[in-house]
Symmetry: C2
Subunit: 204 residues, 2 copies
Amino acid sequence: MNVPRDGTPTRDRILDAAQRIVLERGFAATSVDAVLAAAPATKGAFFHHFPSKNDLGRALLERYAAADERLLDDFMAAAEAESDDPAEQLVAFVRRFEQAADELAPTQPGCLFVSFIYESQLAGNENDLIATSIRHWRTRLLEKLEAAAELHPPAIAVDLRSLADQVFTTFEGGFILARAMHDPSHLRAQLAHLRHYLELLFGL
Amino acid sequence: MNVPRDGTPTRDRILDAAQRIVLERGFAATSVDAVLAAAPATKGAFFHHFPSKNDLGRALLERYAAADERLLDDFMAAAEAESDDPAEQLVAFVRRFEQAADELAPTQPGCLFVSFIYESQLAGNENDLIATSIRHWRTRLLEKLEAAAELHPPAIAVDLRSLADQVFTTFEGGFILARAMHDPSHLRAQLAHLRHYLELLFGL
DNA sequence: GGGGAAACAGACTGGATGGTCTGTTATATC
DNA sequence: GATATAACAGACCATCCAGTCTGTTTCCCC
């Protein structure tokens, strides 16, 4: 078996350029030629790495979901290092995203998931990739919420399952708000309210 | 001046069909031909009513924003009829959206605003239409929030301005969550948390 | 150092798509 | 009932765009 030169740098360059353009204009409005011009790369390179444009979309989503999962793990680990109280961990977790929001928002004008969710043209397989990602967040946060509710009986009865989803909701909604108003700082402010809600619920 | 037959029914049919398809696939992925097939209408009719596809987008946005504003006014008026307490009015306001969510979500799989926000290809003019709409909600809700905070000192210090935006955030985030998980009921659940947050803040 | 396979390069194509253009029909005014 | 004009109808066009195809280069293995 012969192993010629490594193609991953080219592949990554294409993915990076594609992600930037997709986040800005959406997937359908992103032409392969535009990606190639931005990468830069050629037609031959593109269709060597991705059989079709849809495969590029799938690859983008997979890479994004993986990075997303890593972020969740990292921030949760950092939050767990700050305190032993699961409620305080949750608050620290959200606070970390608030801090990250200011740096993240200007460079990343949105969430790649939304770019695909609002374009149902991709088959169910990759949409399930998003659903799996969301469920992962939910599971991870739900166990913390349950532990927190155990220690700190909530001020009012709430459904913890959908509360876990509230993190995703606030993130996506905040992104949209920030983008619609052309002001990245909105994301942080919306996340702060989620934190306040948790603080009130668990009496912190 | 001669006034031939009325064109508004055709125009509306085109707008209705276009809105359905745009909400499902996004604006860029919506071809004029697909709209014409769904309306149904012909090329001649389309380009008689809309000089270009982008003009259709603008018209869609304008119509949507107007309906949005009407909804805000109606629900706010209904909430104001329920109670004299601005805090309770706000809670009633959100509760109304929870009720509406179940009926709205299945027929309308998303918010038209997002379809355009995540596709920056349209010029700044129509994006400002969205921003104006958001600012309208913010202004309207902010005055209620300030009145509520006067009567019921908030449990913790929060920024009322961004709290007003939280309604928009929760709505958009909830829509995305519902769509990503293929379960419209999520929207209602997310709105419920927003209501709980308000209840906790104002001690209701 | 020759052979082979992956990694490109780039001209080319067929279909989709936004938009045009030349009619034709309906209706209110005179 | 002649006419003017908005409201359509639908063939047609120019462009763009995803995907193909035929090379050429690079690099490892023997």
